[in-house]
Symmetry: none
Subunit: 540 residues, 2 copies
């Protein structure tokens, strides 16, 4: 262990992040993200609000098991007029975390006198009882109690004595962490620093947390200001996801705390090198384009433009880069430079396990092929399988398992004779399989054109390649791209496929036509499956 | 005039912003953006670097005339071994600003000893002469001189005496503003505040500026920290455009300075109400989707979710919103989601201009309809047009403009007689348009099935509804949803459509079949267009 002061990280991507407009996690999304957070080294993972919606209930009904992180359920302090032991909301939290080792319960309560008067409409003293009782009951039930002090900064500005009385009640009730929330997101760093310092005079810093929103673009700075004033826990989200303008971005905070401010977090050097991956994973789950300008992890975060500057960077990166890109899993990106393309491609080849001499002339051909494809709209960052196939094709190490002669897909919607609305997708495919047939024709139906086409292709191929049996398309994403010249939009399709027992692989296809783009991605997906299974072409 | 301290705003969107990866302004773009900046009330508008590229030369050959702003040209201090009067770079700047009343010239120079030694490779004392001479020559030529102190913060951390000597040379040379640049973007707010305070002991604050980058997501906070330490000018860009992770975002800084920190800027209340417009204008010019989570100006910046919370917001907005949305030209936005109840739906109805008594039984029917649809996979919080249509349909105030009898879409890929790969999408549609035809049939091709279907539908409808002419599909997103029961995946399609001159609208469609889901979204999109245009059904 180091002797650097320890900052605890509390992720609320799955709860506050789920409030983001346009975000709609499934329980499976939540479980996958939670496992990544645990692997990253996050201390607390807030899974959701049990009782608030079916997704959160489903998540807590079968929560992932964590190696290191503490699973936390979010909820409210007890209602007025009930004992904490009989409060249905609190009991829902205790039930949801039953049997989860070391589970935490984070309770939000009011600390702004105005909200107590108007929203709760109870005497201010009674609100203190609500807080103290609820936290104490949580501790009594064997859960680690945390208290989220809602609207704390606005409350403190309006009535510091009352706001302090509220957090003191939580502290006295036994809260492990009292978390000061800038709920409306309007506070500025100098205010946060001064107010947290005032609170730290009555609650020790190692019991104090901070929860900021980005409404003035200061959520990260506000979190750092609180840490400087003594707080030792930060609540935030991946990529700053969250309601309105988002929450404090843990992806930015983690390297700043560790690399620049001398703090220790649960994220070690290895975890830090996963930051780019974790950030992209969340975007993938949300079907969002990654922000290429994101601090630390954006594709452009370490981009350098051509010329003199670039050679200076290569001579002495530390004088042009505020941190080493590889420390956060990113890479230097030299814009408009063959050399950079080449070293990137070599690095990616090593990543997929292809060893080749740097001087091999086929590397240049591959660099050209990647550039041409990227110009057309292909993106290989999230589609490693397609990159590997492009590389093996260019290097001449990939067999031609089959060739498409043609396909046709028909989608129909009409009212049938019984007066019901019916939808039908039917695909025909004509393929050449070397050594088997020159023109295999198959037809299949599906629930949608891509499913029909996939089924028709595999119907034709499985007799020759039983390896494809069980292959299943698990995700399908479409995005319209408008290339730089702006004349003609193209469609990019990404397909995620898996075998029943293996890791999924992602392929990409681009075309002006979404079905054609889907075929291109399907073609790669099938080819990759065959290559990985070690299939051989049944030619004479 | 107020007696609040005045902060000067210096926009570098057209120069540092133009360095952004993927950004490629034309001279016309630059002129249009510059005029908006002037109308907004920005004090200094940096037009570019004359002599560096043809676009910047074209801009300065015919610069827009400003009502209030000072046009500034950017360049470098003189080269070693030349007098300032004979330096070709400096003379290009003077020529470019010749005849422009009150023009400024902003010169960048080195202040980090390491860069002087390694990049310039001249004695450190000579660099001081470069700075002093260049600034003095600029003043002598009647331009307002500004000095951008490159890598100042890294330089100060390495060798404070030398960094200070550099900015003192600029000040003594007559620089109106000495601007401290965090060129690599790695400094943190507490460092910036301390270092600016140190500089302010030798250069008065009303001659000091700050220039920050967002590499740690602190560019806004760093700029505010500098102001708190005495600096009185901020350099930044619209929407935080800029190399790597971007520059300090003036759009966020302006309302924070004025509404929260008691400073005056050149942007008055009327200018501030143009912030949303100016921010979107830049995105339009760049053909980028606006960031809906942007501070102050994002579409979601004043979005509210959740039942109880929404009724409280309506009672007293100031206790839930850090500034009034209309102060920055934005508006409150009540989100419809599955966490929403009756009060959300009522608020959302008011927002789209539907007035209804809260007790009306149709409200209950609508809440049920929204819940049922959301269970099926619909999501209305990004698809307001579909929500409005669902509401009007449930309330019985939406005409049936047309009815689909059937459609059929054919996609084909094959090798043609010339040995070329061809792709074709063809759609037939059969519609009933009341008062026109019981079974209108049309057929159309398209670059993809959705485009073909859209074209066939509109071909059938435009004779009866010329309102649809010019309607254009601008975005198309697909997501596969796996509902809780996990048995059958459904596809959700979101379509964004716009008329040539209006705001876009977003609709949503869900089905197990992607084409069918697309049709559902298209149907809403066409219906919404007709409703907004006030179309009437041509029935007898």
């Amino acid at each position: 262990m180091s002797d650097r002061p320890r900052i605890y990280l509390y992720d609320t991507t799955l709860r506050d992040g789920a409030q983001t407009q346009g975000v709609d996690f499934t329980a499976a999304d939540k479980a996958a993200i939670a496992r990544e957070l645990d692997a990253l080294g996050i201390d607390y993972i807030e899974g959701g609000w049990p009782g608030a919606n079916p997704t959160d209930d489903a998540f807590f009904a079968d929560p992932p098991r964590f190696k290191r992180a503490r699973l936390t359920a979010f909820g409210m302090t007890r209602r007025p007029g009930r004992s904490a032991g009989n409060d249905p909301g609190l009991n829902a939290l205790f039930n949801a975390t039953d049997g989860v080792p070391g589970a935490g319960v984070c309770l939000v309560g009011k600390t702004w006198d105005f909200h107590v008067d108007v929203a709760l409409n109870i005497p201010r003293g009674e609100n203190l009882d609500l807080i103290r009782d609820s936290v104490a009951e949580t501790a009594a039930r064997g859960r680690e109690p945390l208290f989220d002090a809602e609207h704390f900064f606005d409350g403190y500005k309006a009535n510091p004595d009352y706001a302090l009385a509220c957090v003191r009640a939580a502290y006295e009730g036994g809260a492990r962490w009292v978390v000061l929330c800038d709920t409306n997101g309007g506070s500025l760093p100098h205010e946060v620093e001064a107010i947290v310092a005032a609170v730290a005079r009555i609650i020790p810093g190692d019991r104090l947390g901070i929860h900021c929103h980005n409404d003035t673009e200061n959520a990260v700075a506000n979190s750092l200001a609180a840490v400087r004033a003594g707080a030792r826990m930060i609540q935030g989200t991946l990529n700053g996801l969250g309601e309105r303008c988002g929450n404090a971005n843990l992806i930015s905070l983690i390297p700043t705390l560790s690399l620049k401010m001398g703090y220790e977090t649960g994220v070690d050097g290895e975890g830090m090198r996963r930051l780019v991956h974790v950030s992209r994973l969340l975007d993938d789950r949300l079907n969002r384009a990654p922000n290429r300008h994101a601090a630390y992890v954006g594709e452009s975060a370490f981009a350098h433009k051509g010329g003199l500057h670039v050679s200076a960077v290569e001579k002495d990166p530390t004088s042009y880069e505020h941190v080493p890109p590889e420390a956060v899993g990113n890479r230097r990106h030299v814009v408009v430079s063959d050399q950079a393309g080449r070293s990137n491609v070599l690095a990616r080849l090593r990543e997929v396990g292809i060893s080749i001499e740097p001087g091999d002339p086929r590397v240049g051909a591959l660099v050209e092929a990647v550039k041409r494809r990227e110009f057309e709209g292909y993106a290989y960052d999230g589609a490693e399988a397609s990159f590997e196939l492009l590389a093996r094709r260019t290097l001449g190490t990939l067999p031609d398992y089959f060739r498409l002669i043609s396909f046709r897909v028909l989608d129909e919607r009409r009212w049938n004779a019984q007066g019901q609305l019916v939808t039908l997708s039917e695909a025909t495919a004509k393929l050449e399989v070397p050594g088997v047939a020159d023109a295999l024709m198959t037809v299949a139906e599906g629930n949608g054109p891509v499913n029909a086409l996939d089924t028709a292709l595999r119907k034709a191929l499985i007799p020759a390649y039983p390896h494809l049996d069980g292959m299943r398309l698990v995700d399908y994403k479409v995005r319209i791209l408008t290339p730089q010249d702006g004349t003609k939009a193209v469609t990019r399709v990404m397909i995620e496929t898996r075998m029943p027992d293996g890791a999924p692989w992602v392929t990409v296809g681009v075309s002006a036509n979404v079905i054609d783009a889907s075929f291109n991605a399907l073609f790669d997906s099938i080819t990759y499956c065959l290559y990985r299974a070690g299939a051989t072409v049944p030619t004479a």
